[in-house]
């Protein structure tokens, strides 16, 4: 009986890895991917990047332009995230099993959030291009919709996780809905919610670069412009500024997180 149990476990693991290997090999065959060639091209790519893709003295002239579009991108991301968070908080309160007003509104708000979450930011950008054209407004709304969906989900889980007990206790004292939300749910979940918002801002700054490529605005557009015009030195300067700003934002938000949690 016992031997059987372990033999069965081993069979399951072997089966799992066999399936994984089969899928990998199958995918390689279908896409005609040449492993040897793939790895061979890697050194060449590195050599090319080292030879062309670095900032030069002359490219620094463009730095003010780059910085201004970088700041635009940062601000759009922060604005989109914070507005998204306000809406997400409302929908999360409606959607959480602990704080929802009733089951009907609960499932409606969760359905809306799921819809917004499951459409990728890039897909939102493409959809919104039709309405707003190539402008930063398109990028703003794409990020806003994406953050709204994701944050609603994160907030719902935060609320359910941290405030179940105290909500029950306050309900038992006869407290009204507003008191329960503002005296128990919000104080319990604010630090975690802020942490999610900071995470979302970081993520959005990264996506904003990509969305800029699609919507022709912000730092993504600047990069695209110089890259396509073969100004590799300036394009690489753009990349460097993006990396520096992301590291900076990340360390700021890590600091804030340490203080509030």
């Amino acid at each position: 009986m016992q031997a059987d149990f372990f033999a069965k476990k081993r069979r399951n693991s072997i089966g799992f890895f066999a399936i994984l290997a089969a899928i990998t090999v199958g995918a390689i065959i279908i896409t005609e991917y040449d492993i040897v060639k793939g790895f061979e091209s890697l050194p060449r790519a590195v050599t090319w990047a080292l030879g062309n893709f670095y900032p030069t003295q002359e490219s620094l002239v463009k730095l003010p332009d780059i910085l201004s579009s970088l700041i635009e991108t940062l601000l759009v991301s922060i604005a989109a995230t914070s507005i998204g968070a306000v809406f997400a908080l409302f929908f999360a309160l409606m959607g959480s099993n602990t704080t929802r007003v009733n089951a009907f509104f609960g499932s409606i708000s969760r359905a809306i959030a799921t819809l917004f979450r499951n459409i990728d930011v890039a897909a939102w950008a493409l959809i919104l291009l039709f309405s707003f054209g190539q402008s930063s407004l398109t990028g703003y709304f794409a990020l806003f919709f994406g953050s709204f969906g994701f944050l609603t989900r994160a907030f719902v889980e935060t609320i359910d996780e941290v405030s179940g007990g105290s909500v029950e206790a306050l309900r038992a004292t006869g407290a009204n809905y507003a008191s329960i939300i503002f005296q128990s749910v919000i104080p319990s979940s604010v630090p975690q919610m802020l942490s999610w918002v900071l995470f979302m801002i970081e993520t959005n700054i990264r996506s904003a670069t990509l969305i800029g490529l699609l919507t022709g605005s912000g730092i993504g557009f600047t990069f695209n412009l110089y890259y396509k015009s073969l100004n590799y030195d300036i394009a690489s300067l753009v990349v460097v500024t993006i990396i520096i700003s992301i590291l900076l934002i990340e360390s700021i938000s890590n600091y804030v997180r340490r203080v509030i949690l």
């Binding site: 007990g165 105290s166 029950e168 006869g174 009204n176 507003a178 104080p187 630090p191």
Partner: protein
């Protein structure tokens, strides 16, 4: 004496299959200290929560202070809840708020929407909170955050939150199940004291038979959602304990003579 609480033919069904309570009957007089004992999953918590309608019972009637709790509208229910304090196994405090804020939460039931949402309390209420906290021995922790306290201290904050409501009755759901024996004794002593000196009716769910027998005026034994014993600690026999906890528990139950002797 007229009973403060009457539970008549109360049943609770979860879904189609599970019957948590079936035809539960008992009554509790003003100022009485009553323990509810029974194995895990017997329906003790469900029963307690049916009384202040944290859970809605399926059938029967629950009369508290001459009102049928089961027919109350939302507003009247909130009124009734302000007269019933409740404490919990896991204390259910807002961990990030201070001891005194958690205590003052007991007043939220009497507040308007705005005052409640903003947490506006007057001087009188704050002094009352300090007074209650000092009787519970928490005076030096007033401004500490709740998550900095030990389990026993947290439970005393829970009691303070219930007491500031100025309740007629306290419902205590496994108040000492997560506590060490020392803190458990402190909590039980406070609860007993509340019942004796303040005349507040106390209804408490317990796992520990010896504690129930030692502190209560009356013990109610529940098994499979039914009341199988209802009497004073003096009257309880080995057979009763067996009926409450099931026959297989026979050898697990300590010497009952020793409990009565203590």
């Amino acid at each position: 004496m007229t009973p403060l609480l009457e539970v008549n033919h109360v049943s609770k069904q979860f879904g189609n299959e599970t019957k948590a309570l079936s035809d539960v009957n008992f009554s509790v007089s003003e100022g009485e200290f009553v323990s509810i004992i029974g194995p895990s999953g017997a329906g003790k918590s469900t029963l307690l929560r049916c009384i202040n309608r944290m859970i809605d019972a399926s059938n029967g009637e629950i009369i508290f202070d001459n009102m049928n709790v089961m027919n109350l509208k939302k507003k009247e229910l909130k009124m009734v809840r302000t007269k019933i304090g409740m404490i919990f196994q896991h204390y259910n405090l807002v961990n990030r708020l201070s001891v005194i804020e958690n205590t003052l939460h007991g007043n939220l039931g009497k507040k308007s929407t705005i005052a409640g949402a903003l947490g506006l309390y007057n001087q009188e209420e704050k002094e009352q909170a300090v007074k209650i906290l000092s009787t519970l021995g928490l005076v030096e922790h007033i401004y500490k955050r709740a998550d900095q306290l030990s389990g026993g201290q947290k439970q005393r904050v829970g009691i303070a939150r219930a007491l500031i409501q100025n309740p007629r009755m306290m419902l205590c759901d496994e108040p000492i199940a997560s506590l060490d024996p020392n803190s458990a004794k402190v909590i039980m002593d406070h609860l007993r004291n509340i019942s004796t000196t303040m005349g507040i009716t106390v209804l408490v769910n317990l796992h520990q038979v010896d504690v129930a027998l030692k502190y209560s005026d009356r013990v109610i034994g529940i098994n499979h959602g039914q009341v199988v014993f209802n009497g004073t600690p003096k009257d309880i026999t080995k057979d009763d304990i067996q009926r409450i906890y099931g026959s297989e528990a026979e050898d697990l139950i300590f010497d009952i003579g020793g409990i009565h002797a203590s």
